[in-house]
Amino acid sequence: MTLRLFKAAVAALALGAAFAAPASSQTFDRPVRIVVPFAPGGTSDILARLIAPKLQEAVGQPVVVENKPGAAGNIGADTVAKAKPDGHTLLLMDIGSLAVAPSLFPDLSYNVENDLAPVGMVMFGPYVLAVNPSVPAKSVAELVAYAKANPGKLAVANSGVGALNHITAVALARNLGIEWKNVPYKGGSAASRAVVSGESTVIINGVTATLPFVTSGQLVGIAVTGDKRLPALPNVETFKEAKLPLDDAGTWQALLTSGKTPPEVVAKLNAELQKILAMPEIQEKIAEQGGMVRPGTADAVKTWLSTNTKAWGEIIRAADIKVN
């Protein structure tokens, strides 16, 4: 009896769905998920949770954020790379990690170029180069002079072997002809902590994590990446002003989806993303993350990826950095 009732209910539901389907001839017919390949609480996670409710209104389907941390973001990226290519599985991450992955991991389980399709850039967050107050340097020139006079004495804390701030530190040293130790930590906050305590002496890290220590005087700001000086640090010069290379290094957060997703679906997602990024409340929240909104096309992300994959790849090979 109950079984028959159950069957009837299932049939009714299926019928309902069948009728509903043609009525909603939209692109999205089931819940959309945004995969964040890092643990909750980080920048990518916060951005995804910021965008999800807005995207939900736009596509008329529930949008859920799913954290899939592990293997430097490769587990989450792999999930999206292998998902059904219909735009229902999205990836939000720092695409710098995607640019270095092919050079760092020889047996990467997915192909960044073919298996992932960029939707659009979301934000750029500049890096702050800062030192422990025990280092007698207040500017780039003084830091370089000190490093040249004391080779191997400065220790640059990074967020892990092969992390972008590690590669940035390596590239800077090669370019400036200086020698410093690269000390790996488990993540950016452990690295900042170590420079505040004086265990290591130099840090190149995101604004959000570093700025509070600089404004409180526990770290001394030396330079920032990006186009212009930070409003919070008007006296700290930019990389460009100091004629340092890598003046656009930092965190580049972008939205991507599975590789074979039809172009019209990607275009629809990009259009919705642009609308969301134009909202003042979103821009405000992103500014609180120490970043700025980066509206733009999917192709712009594609170009960014291919340029940086090549550029970082050369540095990684030249410095012989390996994660395997």
Binding site: P40, G41, K68, A190, G198, E199, Q218
Partner: protein
Amino acid sequence: MELFDNLLLGLSTALQLNNLVYCLIGVVIGTAIGVLPGIGPIPTVALLLPFTFGLEPASSLIMLAGIFYGAQYGGSTTAILVNVPGETSSVVTCLDGHEMAKQGRAGPALAIAAISSFFAGTVATVVIAVLSLPLAALALKFTAVEYFSLLVLGLFAAVILAHGSVAKSLAMVLLGLMIGTVGIDVNSGVARMTFGVPALADGLDFVPVAMGLFGLAEIMANLERPETRQVVSQKLRDLVPSWADLKAAFPAMLRGTFIGSALGVLPGGGAALPPFTAYAVEKKLARDPSRFGKGAIEGVAGPEAANNAGAQTSFIPLLTLGIPANALMALMIGALMMQGIQPGPQVMTEQPQLVWGVIASMWTGNLMLLIINLPLVGVWVSMLKIPYRLLFPAIVLFCCIGTYGISNSVFNVWLMLGCALVGYFFIKVGVEPAPLLLGLVLGPQLEENFRRAMQLSDGDPSVFVTRPISALLLGIVVLLLAALLSPAVLRKRKQALSE
């Protein structure tokens, strides 16, 4: 004087009606997830983060903090009743708490756990208020050198902690250290023993290993035995601990609170360190250490106090410096940032009502926990009456959900099930899995800090004895070792074993 001003400011925030309600919601959710094995505060806080978005910053932090320390209360309940640690921090409570339950003293065990937690929570709140700034300054003095020495001390404590043969526990620590090397090496980026499996790149997750070894293995072992559990059907009168119990537990409570408060402040120490250390200390200080593992009330009071005190003082680095002491505090930073507050040393001066409000709410929250938990002890005890055929599948289900929820990983579920088989084998051959877990947790940190210390000192090992804090910690290790190897202690140990 300033301290009173600060506390009053905090109380005025914490005692607002809406904040009291959010505090209550937090501690009730916390207790519930603490009781349910496998569902820890980290996935819960992560799940609730989006819901706190619309709340006032103070309210959201008060609620999230409530979940965290509420879980410490709840975690001990399942540890005592079914020998399944609801949280990793209550692993040690299983040892004597469950023994007490087996002897029909589940009520007093639960009550002592709740009272110890309340006592430690109250003291820790005062500790946070008084020592915030100086303690955070001390924690910042800890560099790789000091951490290495602290971890060496922790591992030695692990060997002493295990009951049974030193050889077996040494073997288990070593096994733990070895499986702790799985994953990509932090210092060199080399993948070790990952066999090309991406899920192994970050090493074996502690939670599924602990849940498999301690929780599921015990269930499997229980299934073998006929269902002759002592179903406790005492009146509430019997649930109240006797005067003698309280007298025995109080010094342990004090020591546990002290140990927990001190260890909680250290970033990266993790939830496991304070209760393990407190247990080792209690066992060391006891006139008759052989009672431990057989239902000693100090073995419940000390670790429970340490665990709650540690949970609360781990907020010190977060609130004063914006530095997360553990994964959960990292989530709290996420919650702050979602509220548009830059975590960091300036929060204390710019948002005093928030910082002191959260601190004061810990005391109101602990009071709520005591009030709602002591009467509920009866309810938890009645859980023992649930037949195994209903209880075990439910626990296994919750364990699977919880393990999956940590990082949405099916691999972790299989890992937990695999560890359950290994844990069952350990029970059959009579070895303690606790030292293995400690090796697994502390091993990677031990290696990381040692190699970092060496890199920074250009390979000069003398830093470990020339830096005062490190030298002191290593000195304690030497003393412990000497005590352990002294003929008197060896004789005593043999006596204890032959009993």
